[in-house]
Amino acid sequence: MPVFQIDGEPVEYEPGEKVLSAALRSGKMIPHYCYHPGMSVVATCRMCLVDVIDMGNGRPAPKLQTACSMDATEGMKVETLNQKVEEGRKLVNEFLLVNHPLDCPICDQSGECTLQDYAFEYGSGKSEMDYSKRVNGWRDIGTFVALERNRCIQCSRCDRFTREITGTNEFGMFNRGHELTVDTYADRPMTNKFQGNMADICPVGAITEKEFRFKRRVWKLKKNHSICTGCSTGCNITIEHDRNEVFRLKPVENQNVNKWWLCDEGRLTYRLMNERKMRIHQPLGRVDGSLAGISWEEAYSAIAERVSELAPEPQAVLALTDTQASNEELFLLQKLLKDVFAADNVFCPLPKWEQSESDFFINTLITSDKTPNRAGALALQIQGDEKNERLTKTIENDLKVVFVLGNPFAADLDVQQKIKQAQLVVHLGVFYNAWSEIADVVLPGQYYSEKVGTYTNKQQRVQSTEIAVQPLRRTRPEWQILAELSQRLGQKNSFENVPQVFTAIAGETAAFSGLNFEKIAGLGIELTKKIKDNGKKIVSVQT
């Protein structure tokens, strides 16, 4: 790749690339507001001023140039730290603060506001503006975000977002000069499903998330990398939490999956992480017909006792799972049945799903498959089909032992009625549901924000989550429960953590062979041998 210099250090660039883009890619920070790598260059904030001391032809540029709009050329020399540049930044910052309210103490962006950061870093620290500031007022612009127009610095990122990213064009710039504001057209609220991103890309506190406003100062939040499990896209996110309470989910850039974006539906799934009412808090056992709290030891020994009493045939053992479970959990469930009962009756629902196709990339993020690990179940060859024909046949057998993971076939009352007849029903789950009602033993699992796991998304990319918040005291991650259960049922295994389980998956299944847990961390890796998904249907979406 050709090379140019920033502050004497060589920086590689692709032909046609701009100075700022190349600088940011190589980790060199140049302050900017209006530039966003996913959108067109407007060069209006004037913050990314740099001094081009050699344009590649031995001549300097006549005045400071905006790095976002300046083409990088071979042999070009750019300075970003000299006095001229500092003065340029200082004056731009002064102008930006002329009409910006100094209400940082009550502004939700405070702490992650680029204007605040740059004013602190490059500003002069005093203001000579002693006239009243522009007042535009608060606007309710959509279901997910609120607009405080006084704080707007007119970088037009939000305007470009609805024009270039979602294509919905419902947002725009109004008036001109110092009265230039952003607003929705015709006073209508926005309807696009990606409004939260506008709060992310807004460099100041003009657009903020309604869900998060006034709940916690951002510098108190701890952040953990994770994967959104709201659908099979598997957008990369950070879970932001404080004192064991999750406050919001933010997208993390992954060019292969979600680029910079996350849908509002996905953002709202943070609520489930804080859900306590519907959670199963401790192991439950059926005593005199009703569920009562028991200890883990009691639960395990009760299951082991019943299993040895029943001594079921392979065809009398059944496991049902949903595709919310991670690869490890699916694998261990399968392994439990195979090793202990020599059975392979593991089923999951695999309904048809729709993948949208659109001129605007962001629309393809939303799929109709609201589970994170359908592809993982397919790769592990968990059985299931659109109409559940094989399952209906299997449950006609005289069932003795049934394991249920999560909430599969939630709407299928026939299946539930049949399984209720089984001698022993064990439910592993995070939330209390219909299966807990009919189970003999209920084992409490953990939500994905509380445990480590890998998920295979719709592109068949394997990605992993991190532990973000402390789990409920008496719950255990499902992979651990399954490993312990199989030990109690006479199998020897030594799975102590998720990487060990993953190594076993990579060793024992064809689809995952060659993968390595360490390499998955971060941006994830796609399966080398693609699995065929018969339930996929492509639909085209117009915005």
Binding site: V41, V42, A43, T44, C45, R46, M47, L49, K63, L64, S69, D71, G88, L91, V92, E94, F95, L96, V98, N99, E128, M129, Y131, R134, I153, Q154, S156, M173, N175, R176, G177, H178, E179, L180
Partner: protein, 419 residues
């Protein structure tokens, strides 16, 4: 006694002139176009280059050079857009041409279109110029009826359509890239350059944007021996006659056609008939409201691009605004800053905030709250807008502020707060 040199105003100064197509043809119109159709387009551009004509819109960029920069063999159509959005305060020359001799301008537009291979030319007319719009529309209708527009005019095999498009009243739409945005139906916001319009302009196709007066010079330049004659009308590098919009406190304001080697003093005292009511001259804004102001002592200078640039100001669109000794310079500056604060498009930071802030400071002076610090601040705010913005409007707003503060500091002292 200084007199006008009639090239563009040849017909307009003739009291019997009939501005219809027949009248224009009778006075020798469309001869140049006929000659041009016999030439190769490159030769036309070469001829324009040789005439040395510089754009009359304000920047003074050589027109021939602009046309030769047009991207060729792109597979995309080329466009010629006439900038008739005459909005610089003080300028009213294009209106005269469009209103009183539309066919001269349209012939120039056709010559330009032929030179750059444009088959659909646009005229972006300022929205407030209702009579000009009406005249232009009927003139274009006449041309279509006569077969001079449309397919095969004068048997040349060349095809040309002209569309008259009216603006909606924004000063910034006179900036060429904002004009193109507006023409495309978007908000008139100046674009990031490069790419320049010659590479990616109207609908991302190669486009040349030229001033009305520049185009109106073409029939003369392309007539026999025209380029040489045009060159002889002024000193080196400042060729041709140009239209001067003289306004302010002179006895005979108006639009006059003058050579480029005329002294500014003579324009004020001969052509303009001196200062109104026998007053003394205080200063001149030489080239539209955005040009740095000149004091009475500085006006002994040739009125052309280069000589004014040497004096630290500019000719711009040749709109001279003369003001006498009774004028309150602070009020004048307030009027100018108010204009730029109102007309800034607002997309880029220094201009959006700076134009408004400087207006607030000048207003503060007017209400009697001036001080040395505020004068320094005003100068600094103006300076910070200079050269830091996306388009030239920031500079245009900064230049009057800085020059007024520098040249009339005593006037501002009148408004200092009494301690």
């Amino acid at each position: 006694m200084l007199e006008e040199t009639l090239v563009l105003f040849k017909n307009i100064r003739n009291p019997e002139y009939d501005k219809s197509l027949a009248g224009y043809k009778k006075s020798g119109g469309f001869k140049s176009l006929k000659k041009v159709f016999g030439m190769k387009p490159e030769d036309v551009v070469q001829e324009v280059k040789e005439s040395g004509i510089r754009g009359r819109g304000g920047a003074g960029f050589p027109t021939g050079l602009k046309w030769s920069f047009m991207a060729k063999d792109t597979g995309k159509p080329s466009y010629l857009v006439a900038n008739a959005d005459e909005s610089e305060p003080g300028t009213c020359k294009d209106r005269e041409l469009m209103l009183k001799d539309p066919h001269l301008f349209l012939e120039g537009l056709m010559i330009g279109s032929y030179a750059i291979g444009c088959h659909h030319a646009y005229v972006y007319v300022r929205g407030e110029y209702f009579p000009s719009i009406k005249t232009l529309n009927s003139a274009v209708d006449e041309l279509y009826a006569d077969g001079l527009l449309g397919p095969n005019p004068l048997g040349s095999g060349f095809q040309l359509d002209i569309t008259i498009h009216t603006g909606a009243g924004a000063y910034i739409c006179g900036e060429e890239s904002a004009l193109l945005d507006s023409l495309e139906g978007k908000r008139g916001h100046p674009r990031v350059k490069p790419p320049f319009p010659a590479v990616s302009g109207f609908n991302a196709c190669p486009t040349s944007v030229n001033n009305v007066e520049t185009l109106a010079c073409m029939p003369f330049i392309l007539s026999d021996g025209g380029a040489e004659a045009f060159k002889s009308f002024g000193p080196q590098n400042n060729s041709g006659t140009h239209l001067v919009s003289l306004s302010g406190h002179v006895n005979r304001p108006g639009v006059y056609e003058l050579r480029m080697d005329v002294n500014m003093k003579d324009i004020i005292y001969d052509i303009g008939g001196g200062i109104r009511n026998g007053k003394k001259l205080k200063g001149v804004i030489p080239g539209g409201s955005s040009s740095p102001v000149m004091t009475a002592d500085e006006v002994d200078v040739l009125y052309n691009f280069d000589d004014l640039a040497k004096k630290g100001t500019m000719m711009g669109s040749a709109a001279m605004m003369v003001f006498d000794e009774d004028t309150d310079v602070v009020k004048l500056l307030h009027r100018i800053t108010r204009f730029y604060a109102h007309e800034s498009c607002g997309q880029c930071t220094p201009c959006r905030e700076g134009t408004h802030w400087s207006r607030q400071i000048v207003r503060d002076f007017l209400s009697g709250n001036g001080s040395d610090e505020k004068l320094k601040l005003l100068n600094r705010v103006g300076g910070n807008m200079m050269g830091t913005t996306l388009c030239a409007l920031g500079d245009a707003a900064a230049m009057p502020i800085q020059s007024f503060v520098k040249k009339f500091p005593d006037e501002f002292r009148k408004y200092y707060a009494i301690a």
